[in-house]
Amino acid sequence: MEVPILKQRNYLIASVQAVLTDQDLVTLRDRLVAQVGRYRSVGVILDVTGLDVMDSFSVRTLRDMAHMIRLRGADTVIVGIQPEVAFSMVQLGLSLEGVPTALDLEEGLAYLDARPKRTSVGPPAGSR
């Protein structure tokens, strides 16, 4: 199932509403990495409230996604990790390694808003 991606100010917000297969997650990663450029977004919020489990594959895919988006010049914050999912991740030794997390959408927006503003240099270059 395709995850809706919303544009809010210069942020992208993707909310996982239902269980995702590995392929769905990879597709979401690729769409977000592409749309950061299309919409000239500086921040991405991924809401994973609807994810039933976070196993080694999901954790690695999300980590990779955040790093790719970072390389595109935007920051990612993952929100909505449920208590039982957090428990399983810790028990299994899975780490998001430096990818910022926040409680929910509201805290995610606050996190992105609180980052120091970057001043763009000169006129915006053509977007890819």
Binding site: D22, D52, D55, F57, V59, S88, L92, L94
Partner: protein, 151 residues
Amino acid sequence: MNRPVNPPQSGSATEGKLDDKAVIPIRTVMDIVTARQHGRELALQSGFSETESTLIATIISELARNIVLYAQTGEIVLGKANGSENQHGVIIISRDNGPGIPDVQRALVGGYSTSGGLGLGLCGVRRMVDEFYIDTGTDKGTTVTAKKWLQ
């Protein structure tokens, strides 16, 4: 709890009597989702908490993914199980006819790395369950049996 690896064939890695046994064929990534959802339901029905059931679902997800990644096809068998010391819980069997695991000891200790490969999956699963058995060979594929008891 003793967690033997490669027990003798007569060991308790055998399925024994399985109540409400479910066999879920694993062929695609969608089947991984089916297997773990089924496992969560079974765990909840068996009296595990929401948190433990999520952990059990995650374990099934790792095992089912190993099948898709390394053997392409196989099956996950889920059932309620009883231990010899009056334990009650669930049994998860992951079975495939894939290439087997060449260095099973290494796969089991490989561990805490977050590279997300085989090491994390099997090692993590092993640490999380009460009984863990693995039977693997290049000629016979891989069978992993895991049991988790209600505390």
